[in-house]
Symmetry: C2
Subunit: 430 residues, 2 copies
Amino acid sequence: MNHTANARSWVEHANGHRDFPLQNLPLGIFSRASQAPRCGVAIGDAILDLEAVLAAGLFDGAAKAAVEATRGGALNAFFALGSPARVALRERLLALLGEGSEHQAVLQAALYPASECQMHLPAKVGDYTDFYVGIQHATNVGKLFRPDNPLLPNYKYVPIGYHGRASTLRPSGTEVIRPKGQTLPAGQTEPSFGPCARLDYELELGIWIGQGNAMGQAIPIGEAEQHLAGLCLLNDWSARDIQAWEYQPLGPFLSKSFITSLSPWVVTAEALAPFRRAQPARPEGDPQPLPYLLDAQDQAQGAFDIELEVLLLTANMRERNLPAQRLALSNTLNMYWTVAQLIAHHSVNGCQLQPGDLFGSGTLSGPLEGSFGSLLEITEGGKHPVELASGELRKFLEDGDEIILRARCVAEGVASIGFGECRGTIVAAN
Amino acid sequence: MNHTANARSWVEHANGHRDFPLQNLPLGIFSRASQAPRCGVAIGDAILDLEAVLAAGLFDGAAKAAVEATRGGALNAFFALGSPARVALRERLLALLGEGSEHQAVLQAALYPASECQMHLPAKVGDYTDFYVGIQHATNVGKLFRPDNPLLPNYKYVPIGYHGRASTLRPSGTEVIRPKGQTLPAGQTEPSFGPCARLDYELELGIWIGQGNAMGQAIPIGEAEQHLAGLCLLNDWSARDIQAWEYQPLGPFLSKSFITSLSPWVVTAEALAPFRRAQPARPEGDPQPLPYLLDAQDQAQGAFDIELEVLLLTANMRERNLPAQRLALSNTLNMYWTVAQLIAHHSVNGCQLQPGDLFGSGTLSGPLEGSFGSLLEITEGGKHPVELASGELRKFLEDGDEIILRARCVAEGVASIGFGECRGTIVAAN
């Protein structure tokens, strides 16, 4: 499964690539010109067309079956095959793309510059669930309402989540149209209707479900990890003013459902293996997870150590050729629950998960300034605008602002890998 | 569009049928023996196989195109065609199944007893949204928490809704496995894990979306009605104890996602035309809907007059051959918002609706005892058990209990039509 830092590819620009060296090999759905969307693998600044490699006869056995399952413009059937198919494909790709491969000429013809390709969603999402397991975010947001008691009594027992909207999941690069809706202006008793005035982003991890379960059959915590296909980045765009007025008593609805952006590459569970960590110890006094959420193996290595970054590029910065400004640096170790715990919890009532279902982690803020994953937290609900290096101020997002999410895994003795970007630019309300 | 009471079918058992006389012609997906699921029309106690009628050459033009779109075991593509396709198919079916049809012999061969067929979900639901627009239910539930002020300030402005779980939508007759989950027992500060002890049903209208909209393009209230394909019954099974502990701050999740039952027949917007009514006047002092939710035509005839009924059949009643006992009689006129208002609201932020999306209305209780659509309301949160004619008591549902939802439309001068049943029996937790 070769993750060692010195494994090299004959695709030269892949070696030392920030996101997509040989050790990553993430899967996605792409298209070129008028081609139908198909499965590709990111390698350096290029995309390997698996359809073309299959046609060239370079896959057989389990790897061939795996690639056949990626057909049709969505990875759901491939996800359904679980880890063995991903491992078989990964091992074959390591051989094909590694230094010394005998098939370079054939493969070269199936490699396209990523800049010439359009990325699509990697799977047709049956259900999208958004969790709320960034405990620092929950604390920061809770403080705005309850300074002395920010977390609700259930928070440390229940991996809090809610159903999200699947129809408006979109790949990175899709423009974000400022939503309209009802809001209750400060000091008023009757709502107004108009464009959102408190538009925000949320830095989240996206979690792709592989094999599913039958309705009524809970997934035990000890098996939950087997249902993870891979990860991506997710921006849970949020209309704070619409949310504040609509969310009682059934939760966020139109304040979130206008769009949710995803980075298009699925970084597989196998590629992420070197970046697993013990679940950080719960602070003294926190309760133990209930037994259905507790597994020694999961506690020992169920967490991910992934650096997360948010950048803002305003229209003004773009015009002046200024670089995007970092708004936050955080890490997935801020998750209070592991991915396995999310899967076990989600299915414990018998709820059916299906291949290609998507979870969001919830906003992954860190505890300190500079690590907050939303403007709501950075500006304390708009009270303290952030001063940008361009001289601009921001309470919330303005038209023309682009938010860029990035993720990167770094560990000793293995090659660093990244997730690529999740970008979205705000455009004026219709 | 023949709705007159004296229009008769040569299918004799259809004439005067409680649910499916000639005037209804609801569409569904059924299968027999090992056949692949296909589209059928309910007529009396039989199902007409549209695939077989198509093969016999009895459709042409728009009706043929409509039937072709019903193929593949799901009605999504047919829904996408909107009202013209439904009208063309309906007119042709009225001719084929009406008295004097010249094709009786051919059609007879395509008619199967419904009792020999298995029903499936009529469409592959992309997203399922559950609303909360039964104002009597919202009031009754609110009273349990806030006796003097049951409705939250947003209720009369915002058609409250939240995203539901699509993967566990199931057709009538699917067993309901008692879910397990976390609950906070009265007087405790730490949660327990186990089978739900407060299992409940909710009487709801299901709303099938026909044509969709592009992301970013709100559906104006004046056009919203065109996006309605038809209606069904929906039982939003609810684990009240799990719900109470999990729902803050993001809404119901595992307390609802274990299963949601649907009646399998889509009663089309065209069949329902004679049962449209003016939206009941808002009580004095209630605010006017905001302009994006207000349309004169919708106010004048956007509501539905559909009688709704809930029955309970316990294991004890079944053994003793006692009839099911009615728990409630209600009506869709208890909706505070029209279907068009739900569609306009849902899309006003640019959220994309897709053909085959499903809405639940929320529990449709009436104002008086005998019209409450859940045990939560009937027993006031379990405080006052209901006494059944069998001598049994119920606070919440017990294993072996079957809940049966029915709906019926009655109006002068036209044939009554019904929805068929939505049934589900509770079985013990796994």
